[in-house]
């Protein structure tokens, strides 16, 4: 549903000399949604985020927030706030002063800005460490302080630049749950840049997949995953095989492939036990690799070995034609 408060990118382009980092992007970020900007490194996702934040000038086009053109406003005047990848906490200031920094810059007096900072620290459950210096905090704690600092100005859009990349895997999963909860509670838009598709699938109301400076596909996470528009998206989101059949390119869900005597003939190459399922890679007659994720019980009821000849089959609905 579109409202006037959406963030809209209109023909946004970024050039560095001859190279184009972002090419003519048009997109509407619906207000109050969790959006993941997803893509391999160098695809332009970070540049796009930084242009929205105002840390990168735009070469062409415009950025509209709430109906007003913010393309040429300084970062703090846009109604956006950014959380940096390395958190960028001021090492000489206490946690509370870090969070209150933007209010201090506005000239609010000490009592007022400390009160606001304390509220934010309550929100991210960091109030008990308010007097510490950033160096005395763990990575996860620093991340929360950075979040509180970004939220203290009450932005309408929070921009997160790979916020989970500095955390260890276990913490990453916990923190992403917190991010999602926070977004729901605050009801503002989060735009989250990541190169991990699992992160994007877990978090995003909307996934925007970028490649080579353009948006390849955008839409709800489930739609992007199950109905990739292009070969790139199918491969990048994972869990898909890309095969040529009857003169067309198709994406085939790896968990939709099963073995049947009447199926496409293939030879098993590798077998990997992965817990819930077994990943079987086989090659067909024209040397296309096909990955099949077979449920564990099914596989061990009729185990295969590398070199075995198998037939690959799938249900009709699991095959999805690609546009490019």
């Amino acid at each position: 549903m579109r409202t006037g408060q959406d963030l809209e990118l209109s023909h946004v382009t970024k050039r560095y000399g001859q190279t184009v980092a972002v090419r003519d992007i048009n997109h509407v970020f619906t207000n109050g949604t969790y959006v993941c900007l997803l893509g391999p490194s160098g695809c332009g996702k970070s540049t796009t985020l930084r242009m929205i934040a105002g840390h990168e000038t735009i070469s062409d086009g415009s950025i509209l927030l709430d109906g007003t053109d913010v393309s040429h406003l300084p970062p703090a005047k846009r109604g956006t706030a950014m959380m940096f990848q390395s958190y960028a906490l001021f090492p000489h200031l206490s946690v509370r002063d870090n969070v209150a920094f933007s209010l201090r810059m506005q000239g609010q007096d000490k009592a007022l800005r400390h009160k606001a900072a304390n509220e934010m620290l309550e929100l991210v459950d960091m109030i008990h460490l308010a007097d510490r210096l950033p160096a005395q905090l763990s990575g996860g704690q620093q991340q929360r302080v950075a979040l509180a600092r970004a939220l203290v100005t009450k932005p309408r859009v929070l921009l997160l630049d790979e916020p989970l990349s500095a955390l260890d895997p276990f913490l990453r999963i916990r923190v992403r749950g917190e991010l999602k909860r926070l977004q729901r509670e605050l009801g503002i838009s989060f735009i989250h840049v990541t190169h991990g598709q699992d992160e994007a699938l877990a978090l995003a109301d909307e996934c925007v997949v970028m490649n080579n400076a353009v948006i390849e596909q955008s839409g709800p996470a489930r739609e992007v995953f199950s109905r990739p528009r292009t070969e790139f998206v199918a491969r990048f989101m994972g869990g898909h095989n890309v095969i040529d059949l009857n003169g067309g390119r198709y994406a085939l869900r790896a968990d939709g492939v099963h073995f049947a005597t009447a199926g496409l003939p293939a030879t098993v190459r590798t077998i990997e036990y992965q817990g819930n399922h077994v990943a079987v890679t086989s090659t067909t007659g024209d040397d296309t690799e096909v990955l099949a994720l077979i449920p564990e019980e099914t596989f061990f009821a009729n185990p295969k070995n590398p070199g075995d000849a198998v037939g690959l089959a799938w249900d009709e609905g699991r095959l999805h034609r690609l546009q490019a």
Partner: protein, 298 residues
């Protein structure tokens, strides 16, 4: 302790296995140099400062007369005052110039090769000796020097400016010229360690350029400023040749007091002045270090 063969190891092996012994052995070369060339001379100076001297002889003794004379003479206070004045003014100028140059190099120059090139250009004056750099000011600042002639020909002044050379002005000018790099280097070094994303974060939080400078860059540059300050203060307070050359022997600082005593072979008196100067500098540095922790820079 017995090794695998069951025999007791020789005393040499036992000694080498002793962690403390190896540690002391590794520290020995530097310790010996510091003891021989720093501690012993200072002890000698302290001892000599209690000796007595006449015009033609030096008498080993334990007497406080050198110190009594030093603290009883109004000249001492005047000269120490002048030394502090030189130190303070030189510090103020080298700091403002050094900070600006370092800031420009660290934050305005984006490409690292250019940064390194400009930094090397800053060091070019150091390819010549201090004395030559000082002396080269004389034809520039003199009564009929380039500066006065240029100003007269532009019609800015009618008479040559007398205070350009052999004055406090020329002394401080030479000090600033000689020692600004000692400010630039540590400040630049500290600034280069500031994470650039902190500046973006400040901007994202609505800080103006000036606010970023005051609230982020200066606090994070303090250790570098402090190291530069210590360099400049100790260099200026211990100097005597710059003051002599650039003031045409018309101004005095503590260094000149000491050098005059030495030229008159009044070693005990020179030693006493040196001890007081050393303590003064140490106290100043001690006070400075109470304000800023420079340990993380070292």
């Amino acid at each position: 302790m017995r090794d695998s063969t069951g025999k007791a190891p020789g005393w040499g092996v036992t000694l080498m296995r002793n962690r403390h012994f190896v540690g002391w052995l590794q520290a020995a070369p530097l310790s010996l140099i510091l003891i021989g060339f720093l501690i012993l001379p200072i002890i000698t100076i302290v001892i000599v400062s209690f000796w007595q001297a006449t015009e033609f002889s030096i008498i080993p003794a334990f007497s406080l007369e050198n110190y009594e004379f030093l603290f009883g003479s109004p000249v001492t206070y005047k000269v120490f005052g002048a030394t502090f004045k030189y130190a303070f003014l030189t510090w103020a100028f080298t700091l403002s110039i050094g900070f600006t140059v370092a800031y420009y190099l660290a934050f305005h120059i984006r490409s690292q090769p250019v940064q390194i090139a400009l930094f090397l250009i800053c060091t070019i004056p150091f390819w010549t000796s201090n004395i030559i750099r000082m002396i080269s000011w004389i034809p520039f600042l003199g009564r009929n020097g380039i500066a006065n002639q240029a100003l007269i020909s532009w019609g800015v002044i009618d008479q040559p400016l007398e205070w350009l050379l052999y004055s406090d002005f020329s002394v401080i000018l030479a000090f600033v010229h000689l020692y600004t790099l000692f400010m630039v280097v540590p400040i630049f070094n500290t600034m280069m360690r500031i994470d650039k994303s902190l500046l973006e974060a400040a901007r994202d939080n609505g800080a103006s350029g000036f606010q970023t400078l005051v609230h982020v860059i200066v606090p994070l540059t303090k250790p570098g400023i402090m190291i530069g300050t210590i360099f400049v203060l100790t260099l200026v307070m211990g100097d005597f040749i710059t003051v002599r050359f650039m003031s045409g022997s018309q101004r005095a600082n503590v260094g000149r007091l000491i050098s005059n005593d030495i030229s008159l072979l009044q070693y005990p008196s020179a030693a006493a002045t040196a001890v007081v100067l050393l303590l003064t500098v140490l106290i100043v540095i001690g006070i400075l270090l109470r304000f800023v922790n420079i340990r993380k820079e070292l």
